[in-house]
Amino acid sequence: MDSRINGMIWLGSITLLVLLVLSHLVWGTVPLPWRSWLFEGVPMESMHLLILEDVRMPRAAIAVAAGAGLSLCGLLLQTWFGNPLAGPSVLGVSSGAGMGVALIVLAGVAGGWMATTAAAVLGSGVALVLVLFVANRFRGAASLLIFGLMLNYVLGALITVLQAEADQAALQQFVFWGMGTFGQGSVETAWALGLLTCGAALGAWLMRKNLDAWTLGSLTARSMGVNERSFRWAIVWMSGLLTGGITAVCGPVAFLGLATPHLVRLLTRERRHAVLIPLTAIAGANLALLADWGVKGMLGMEHGWPLNAVLSLIGGPMVVWVLVTKTRSSA
């Protein structure tokens, strides 16, 4: 019974992924002559090909990579901390990346997308190391989340100071970056994020047994042969690179990392990471693509909404719902 449901979930989420990617390639602000291309064999004009290859394809690819990557990151952090509310944006990891970007964009420490990305990766890595350091000091789920919250406040305050000092153009660039978007990347950044997420997914899948063992508690997992030090560094590296890389390109994307693993756990009764990892990645990609329809402005809206507004409007209630159902079932 379970395996049949799982088969349907797999089939459904992969079909949805294909359909969503196609929909993003087919529809957009500029109508492309699909009908004549498909039925009359008329080749597309170079301008139309340019829109397809340089705008829509990278945007869809970035949404897929960012959605999958952040969701994987959320799953890894939730398992590592044994805390259902962990996630890159909750623990201050996204803010760390944001701080890195702020230093580049607002304070003008250096320039170029390479510097921005490096700064974001470094920022998220430093934030995560801080969180891990604290997690080792106080055990307890609540103190960790409160620390993440405080880290968010402190970094947010520093960013505000930088904003107050910045010039008009830099400030505008930073504010738009902060709203989040999948649409600002190039073909190259799409490739880079794609490879990053694939690498991280593979890395996570190789650690699937360690992740399963970790749910039994760190002492038990270690006694079963998990090397805590290398496991921890793998989590830091993967989460830092994923969050940093994705945040540099897409801005601090809210909720995806936290919410997707819960959605997957709600849909499937499987809890082995061998299944959770691929399903979470696909579901994250689907959620990102869905949210991007909100951003592009579907249903004839004049303008779309900022990505983080869309994600928070979906993600916020979803997390509350998860909390309510979770506490009800455990009570």
């Binding site: 044994g82 047994k209 399963d212 063992a213 749910t215 039994l216 508690g217 002492l219 038990t220 270690r222 006694s223 079963m224 042969g225 998990v226 090397n227 805590e228 756990r265 809890r271 082995r272």
Partner: protein
């Protein structure tokens, strides 16, 4: 019956947290892996520290633990997991894995997993989630998992601390059973009323004032309690 007897030897072992007074100070002791070894001590005496250090999960402050001639803390984690298994005092309450999935982490042999669950637990647990079991059942699953690791030693840190009376009795029965089959079982516990006069009890020692002192296995639980509280 396992043919070889394994030994855990403590050589001038000091353990605890770096930068603080050692909880255990220069211990010299030898545990042999036949029968049941029990360590008793009052709250905060250092039972957990001892078991974690002997399980290789905590690095000694000084001195060392010899496992059949190898210094324990030079083994890497996967090598160590083949020689020593560990059960903590708190059964995992948040893991949503199913019992058979937990057991699969310890052994790839499905037949062995099923027969071990049937012999030492209850076959009806196979497909249940760890979360859905009672504390006592979950703790027994953790013990079966430790048995499946196939090690010479299983170390348990107050395994019955959170269990009710019937669940304690059931876990002790399984511990004795494993000990009588030649697995070296070392238990730190408060719950020593259960073991007095038991044939498979091969050693009992108490932690007091940072030292480990052997007690008589022939004595009664009341004698052991007296040893814990008497004036030095």
């Amino acid at each position: 019956m396992k043919a070889n007897v394994s030994s855990l030897i403590l050589e001038n072992l000091s353990a605890g947290y770096r930068g603080r007074t050692p909880i255990l100070d220069e211990l010299n002791h030898r545990f042999s892996s036949h029968g049941l070894n029990v360590v008793i001590g009052r709250n905060g005496a250092g039972k957990s520290t001892l078991v974690r250090t002997l399980a290789g999960l905590q690095t000694p402050l000084s001195g060392e633990v010899q496992l059949d001639g190898t210094t324990l803390h030079t083994l890497d984690s996967s090598e160590r997991a083949k020689r020593i298994a560990f059960v903590s005092s708190v059964p995992p309450r948040t893991s949503e894995l199913r019992v058979h999935e937990v057991l699969a982490l310890a052994s790839e042999d499905e037949e062995k997993r099923r027969s071990m669950l049937t012999a030492t637990g209850d076959p009806s647990w196979w497909n249940r989630r760890l979360q859905e079991l009672s504390d006592g059942e979950a703790q027994r699953v953790m013990f079966i998992r430790a048995l499946l690791q196939g090690t010479d030693w299983i170390l348990l840190d107050e395994p019955t601390a959170f269990l009710d009376v019937p669940a304690r009795a059931a876990l002790w029965r399984e511990l004795m059973n494993a000990a009588s089959k030649g697995v070296g079982v070392l238990v730190a516990t408060h719950d020593y009323g259960e073991i007095q006069g038991h044939a498979d009890l091969s050693s009992i020692a108490m932690i007091r004032n940072r030292k480990l002192t052997p007690l008589s296995v022939e004595a009664s639980a009341a004698d052991w309690t007296n040893a814990l509280v008497s004036e030095l």
